[in-house]
């Protein structure tokens, strides 16, 4: 892995104006990526595309939910939400007067939390017959009143959604963000003449964010979990699947637990921000109607003053080998569903390419093996799909899962689907893939590679993700070239190792009909 400067490096690194450009690649796709690294470690990638007067931006920070720890679960996601709430200049009527109130609010909430804990203990002490236990209710009531007055005062300072409004009025589209396990990304597209605005505002966002409206947003994040997990059977099942497959690694948590989010505070989340958000942990890709040199100059003018920070520890936890099949059942008011997961490699393992080919052999298209067997021939499933989890485009930082999902078709059961699934996995391990089938996969990979570059945002996300993962965006090209070299023998070897029953976790959704 390439690393820019070690911990404590203070010597200014000579501005690396040297840009790296790949030669015209195979299939006549020119991928002319220009790269520039600021002295503070921020990496900028640019692809000039003049077709339409717009540009897409994709900003990737090397931090995600895998970097959280007990008590801080949800911090990465909540922080991602909070970084839309403005800065010292945006979203406030007067930051200098607002900030003491923010401190006041945090402190009051801390005092209230302590009082509530004491109150819980007092309740228990009374329940076992102790006398003279102090009463906390009166104090809590006073504190609540005070908190209300602080909140009301703070509301007066907020300029609602000013950051979004500023971008909207300037014609921004697709202004959004996403939190993964190993990376958090912020993206937006603009008409091409808004480049100065983008850089000025984003540098402000990185250097001076203000997490105002924090405690309402915490509720929003909990509402998001209800929407995406609690009330969707397949998601509830998936939460059980990965929680069972991983016993140690942070990839085990599918979505933040409400019990932890409820106790995240602004100071705690600011600490998380300070620890992980730094220019040397960020890759920015811009694709569209821009001039690369202008982008580099503007990036430098806007971001250069933001200091580099020491790299925090990576995730050290290594998932111990699984030594026996694990099975888990989720009851839910929905039709049956099956998810099966196998442990596999991380992005830097040579067999990663083999898994990508296996994924396509199994479930890419109507001629894929699982589709043919389960959906067309045996007709025991409505759908079947395979994917890696977490499954970021550039591969995952730590060993991940190969997952197979299927919806059985009534009256066929999850068990019948499971059996048919294993037959196909066994076939992969015992019979070499025919050359034509492998050629089909390679053709599809080559075509999809080109399509992945079609939109500005698509191309920006590809180069940024690969750069962030491997320290060099050309890893993207190497993946394509290495995929072309996968052999039938590789596939058999990897299938034999990975698809063993003892490496497997099986999760089944069992319908639970409502009592009526």
């Amino acid at each position: 892995m390439h690393r820019e400067g070690g911990i404590g490096t203070v010597v200014a690194i000579a501005l690396m104006m040297a840009t790296v450009t790949a030669a015209r690649a195979k299939d006549d796709v020119a991928l002319d990526v220009k790269k520039h690294v600021l002295a503070n470690g921020m990496t900028i990638l640019v692809v000039e595309r003049k077709a339409a007067p717009v540009f897409a931006t994709y900003m990737h920070y090397k931090v995600g939910s895998a970097n959280e720890w007990p008590g801080m679960i949800g911090a990465a996601h909540l922080l991602e939400h909070m970084l839309f709430k403005g800065t010292q200049a945006i979203g406030t009527k007067n930051y200098e007067r607002e900030v003491p109130l923010l401190v006041c609010e945090d402190s009051l909430r801390a005092v209230i939390e302590l009082e509530q804990r004491a109150d819980t203990m007092a309740y228990f002490q009374r329940s076992i017959g102790l006398k003279d236990v102090p009463d906390h209710h009166a104090r809590l009531a006073v504190l609540d009143t005070q908190l209300d007055s602080v909140k009301k005062a703070l509301d007066g300072f907020v300029v609602k959604s000013e950051y979004e409004q500023l971008y909207d009025r300037n014609g921004a589209t697709g202004f959004n963000a996403g939190t993964g396990y190993d990376g958090t990304t912020y993206y937006v597209s603009f008409p091409s003449n808004r480049l100065p605005l983008y850089f000025t505002v984003e540098a402000d966002r990185m250097a001076h964010p203000v997490l105002r409206e924090f405690y309402a947003e915490r509720e929003v994040v909990m509402e998001e979990r209800r929407l995406r997990v609690d009330n969707e059977g397949s998601a509830k099942l998936f939460e059980q699947l990965i929680g069972t497959a991983f016993i140690a690694h942070p990839y085990q948590i599918f979505w933040e637990w409400p019990s932890e989010v409820r106790h995240l505070t602004r100071p705690k989340v600011m600490d998380f921000y300070r620890k992980y958000y730094a220019p040397n942990r960020m890759v920015l890709a811009i694709v569209g109607d821009v001039d690369a040199n202008e982008v580099f100059q503007r990036a430098e003018a806007a971001f250069d003053a933001i200091p580099r920070q020491p790299d925090p520890d990576p995730v050290f936890t290594v998932e111990p080998p699984q030594e026996g099949e694990r099975r888990v059942i989720q009851e839910f008011d929905a039709e049956p569903y099956l998810s099966v997961a196998y442990h596999k490699t991380s992005f830097d393992d040579p067999d990663e390419m083999v898994f990508r080919v296996i994924h396509r052999l199994l479930s890419d298209g109507r001629t894929s093996r699982l589709y043919k067997s389960l959906v067309l021939d045996k007709q025991i499933a409505l759908s079947v799909s395979t994917y890696e989890y977490p499954g970021s485009d550039a591969g995952d930082l730590n060993p991940n899962l190969f997952v197979i999902d299927a919806e059985p078709k009534s009256p066929h059961t999850t068990l019948e689907v499971e059996t048919a699934l294993y037959e196909e996995l066994d076939r992969l391990a015992t019979t070499p893939v025919e050359p034509r089938e492998l050629e089909k996969i390679k053709n599809r990979i080559a075509a999809d590679f080109i399509w992945s570059l079609y939109s500005n945002l698509g191309l920006a996300s590809q180069v940024a993700e690969y750069e962030a993962r491997a320290g060099d965006w050309r890893y993207l090209l190497s993946v394509r070239d290495r995929l072309a070299k996968v052999t039938p023998a590789d596939i058999m070897r990897v299938a034999k190792t990975a698809f063993r029953p003892e490496n497997r976790t099986v999760a089944t959704l069992v319908p639970k009909k409502p009592e009526s």
Partner: protein, 478 residues
């Protein structure tokens, strides 16, 4: 910790409340500098696709693009599920499936799949409410092979009977699963409540699926799939001459026919708007309320768009999102929408909120609409909504595939070729009075149909104060 000690001291002495009360109120600060930055309007002449018509009436839009060695091809056909009789609801979806998977008269389904997938060609299609679309994405080097298969599939579909049976069986399984997800329940049941028996509100049932035969699929295809009911949108790394040649060769033999599209009447508002409840053991309630909206040709649609952006359609600055999400934290996803159709579509507001905040969230959402109706909008809201639409107009021309599809869609729905330019002018002309007028005209709080899916007995308050309550029982999976 230090702050905490100070605050604790202040709390103990009661001084904090006094301090906060005395704290200088927020004064309007010097305007945010970024907001003053002004930019010239983008001067941009977007590429205009070439339009030509084959002798058989097939309209083609083509845009040459050499950025990547690829070709996109989409056919829009005047074949919609609204033309299917009520007793065969679900036929549209099955027809779409069979046209994609059923092979051709000279190639088995497996041959088609093998040939397309070997070349990495993506071939997809579906029958929607008022149109069907079938698209092909291939590398430029495979264009000849891809086009030959594409034309064969569209002109000489095989309607393979095993594939028909599979599509029918899969539709039955989907029906069995249609109540698994609350989002799917609310959008289906809300449409049914507002549209009643109108074709826009039809959904398959076990009975209608049992009434569908392979011959119905063939008849549907024969009735609507003709060159004169189809528009092709094409872009890619090819020359115009090569495209004309290739299309004449492959589509030139497709014969015209008079096609009479069944008249679809305007939907009528439901007789019994009110509150409808679906009880399901969830920890979050799906809420939706609204009524009939406007059709896609409505002359006031631009003012409606601006109005809806301000009300709840335009991202975080929209009122409903600001009140329900960022002020209150009661929802992750909340907003309002007008759907587009040839006859009036829907207007609705929707959100998901935890069971314990159901009634107060619904009340707040309805208040946001009422407040806009009563107090109108501000100049700043109008400016934000208009600038946002106008300044993002260039994104209508981002990729060649989008450009040709936009031109094709415009013509498909009877809009002039310069519609995008007209839209810009129309948005520019929208005034505050326009917005307030269309709000009063198209928002009708007295006739809301309200639907909530969730754990009814745990709601924070009964929803009877929002209207007469009817409980809907969903049919069990067959």
């Amino acid at each position: 910790m230090r702050h905490r000690a100070i605050i604790r001291g202040l709390c103990a002495t009661g001084l904090l409340a006094i301090l906060v009360a005395l704290w200088p109120a927020a004064t309007v600060r010097a305007t945010n500098p970024y907001l003053k930055w002004k930019y010239e309007d983008m001067k941009f002449n977007p590429p205009v696709p070439e339009r030509f018509v084959l002798d058989n009436g097939l309209v083609v839009f083509f845009l040459r693009d050499t950025t990547l060695p690829v070709v996109t091809l989409t056919a829009l056909v005047r074949a919609g599920s609204v033309y299917v009789p009520e007793e065969k609801a679900g036929l549209g979806g099955i027809a779409g499936d069979v046209l994609v998977t059923g092979g051709t008269t000279s190639r088995t389904p497996d041959e088609v799949d093998q040939q397309l997938e070997f070349l990495g060609i993506r071939w997809e299609g579906s029958v929607d409410l008022e149109s069907s679309d079938f698209s092909l994405h291939c590398l430029a080097k495979d264009f000849a092979a891809g086009l030959a298969l594409y034309a064969d599939l569209l002109l000489h579909p095989g309607f393979d009977s095993a594939k028909f049976q599979l599509a029918l069986d899969n539709s039955k399984e989907e029906l069995r699963r249609q109540n698994d997800s609350p989002g799917q329940i609310i959008s289906r049941e809300f449409s049914k409540l507002v549209y009643g028996h109108h074709p826009y509100g039809r959904f398959a049932t076990p009975q209608t699926l049992d009434a569908i035969s392979r011959q119905d699929v063939i008849d549907f295809y024969r009735a609507y799939f003709r060159p004169n009911t189809t528009i092709l949108a094409m872009s890619g790394d090819l020359t115009s001459a090569a495209v004309k040649n290739a299309l004449t060769r492959t589509f030139g033999g497709w014969s015209q026919a008079d096609v009479t599209l069944p008249q679809i009447p305007a939907p009528t508002a439901p007789d019994n708007p009110g509150v409808y409840l679906i009880n399901k053991d969830l920890n979050q309630t799906n809420i939706r309320f609204g009524h009939l909206g406007i059709d896609r040709h409505n002359s006031e649609r631009h003012a409606v768009r601006v109005m809806n952006d301000i009300l709840g359609g335009g991202g975080f600055t929209a009122r409903m999102i600001a009140r329900v999400r960022s002020d209150s934290g009661w929802a992750y996803s909340v907003g309002t929408r007008f759907t587009a159709a040839n006859q009036p579509g829907l207007f609705y507001a929707s959100c998901q909120t935890k069971t314990q905040t159901t009634a107060k969230t619904l009340a707040l959402m309805q208040w946001v609409v009422a407040d806009l109706l009563q107090n109108g909008i501000t100049d700043e809201e109008l400016a934000t909504a208009k600038e946002s639409i106008l300044n993002s107009d260039v994104f209508n021309y981002e990729t060649p595939g989008e450009i040709v599809e936009r031109y094709a869609t415009q013509e498909f729905y009877g809009f002039p070729a310069d519609q995008l330019k007209q839209d810009v002018e129309a948005i520019r002309a929208v005034t505050k009075a326009d917005v307030e007028r269309v709000a009063r005209k198209y928002l009708d709080p007295k006739h809301y149909t309200v639907l909530a899916v969730g754990k009814v007995e745990k709601f924070d308050a009964p929803l009877s104060r929002f209207g007469r309550v009817t409980t809907i029982t969903l049919e069990e999976a067959p």
